[in-house]
């Protein structure tokens, strides 16, 4: 599998995800600066977490219009897998590659802790390493993770299997207790219509080694390698 990680000024999970990819693939991914306009031949593009452009205007708004994103969009349109983690998810919604928007957390606090997720769709290159209904533990670290879209869009996401992950309690209950940030219907990660673009707020790359305290995130990268090898 050939992978690239996009690096914006203010990205801070680019190297973490590169380590996770290198571990899964065996070779390091290509790191691509936001000012670049071309990408090599690829199977996967990762838009990493961080605070691109200092979250100026709105989280992800400036990065969504940086030169490389035109090429990222074109590759996604041609079927290349695109994974947006945390700030990367915000960038993909601002770029119009995923519906909805990530608003300020309902309690107005930056939340940095582990949460639990339920896998809603295991039939994608990103989630094939998991089972539907499986409960995962993953860290979140964000101020704007409160997923919002109009009612019709939310219904359509559920009806078409495009909700990949929802926040839940450690026992797997989907309710207000398990929802850290006020996201509509506990949505933590969604897919585009075609199923080749995933955005999620939790950080799989931060729980991918035993030294991290857990490895629930590793199956995402291993699943991608299995899908593209």
């Amino acid at each position: 599998m050939k992978a690239a990680v996009i690096v914006f000024p203010g990205s801070n999970c680019d190297r973490d995800v590169a380590v996770a990819l290198r571990r899964a693939i065996g070779t390091p991914p290509v790191m691509v600066w936001h000012r670049d306009t071309a990408l090599p031949d690829l199977d996967l593009i990762v838009v990493p977490g961080g605070f691109s452009y200092g979250d100026y205007l709105r989280a992800g708004a400036m990065a969504a219009h940086s030169p490389i994103m035109r090429e990222v969009k074109a590759r996604a349109d041609s079927g290349v897998a695109v994974l947006g983690i945390c700030n990367g998810f915000q960038v993909l919604t601002e770029a119009g590659m995923l519906p909805g928007v990530l608003m300020r957390n309902a309690d107005l606090k930056f939340i940095c802790r582990d949460v639990h997720l339920k896998v809603d769709n295991d039939n994608t290159p990103f989630t094939r390493g998991y089972r539907r209904g499986q409960i995962l533990r993953m860290p979140i670290a964000h101020n704007e993770g409160n997923y919002f879209a109009d009612g019709d869009t939310i219904d359509r996401l559920f009806d078409t299997g495009r909700v990949a992950f929802r926040y839940c309690t450690p026992q797997g209950a989907i309710n207000g207790t398990g929802n850290p940030n006020g996201s509509q219907r506990s949505i933590a990660g969604i897919l585009n219509d075609r199923g080749n673009v995933l955005g999620l707020m939790p950080h799989p790359e931060r729980l991918a080694e035993p030294q991290h305290g857990g490895t629930d995130g590793r199956a995402m990268f291993e699943g991608l390698v299995a899908a593209f090898t």
Binding site: H65, R104, D107, D150
Partner: protein, 80 residues
Amino acid sequence: MKATVHVTLKNGVLDPEGKAVQHALETLGFSGVNGVRQGKFIEIDLSDADPKTAHDRVDAMCRQLLANTVIEDYSIDISR
């Protein structure tokens, strides 16, 4: 030519920051505060000479970058 843009959350979109400001005002003793909505104010200095052209261009700027129309409304004022 100067454009002033106000970006606000759409009606029906919860504004937790506005709510927090409202509570703070009540705590300070200001009575009769029925609601607070907060947003952004953006000033743009333009070289356009024609107000209509300026308005159209700023409208495009709002749609493409300045506002996220999924959750935000915007209004534009053009002045010399």
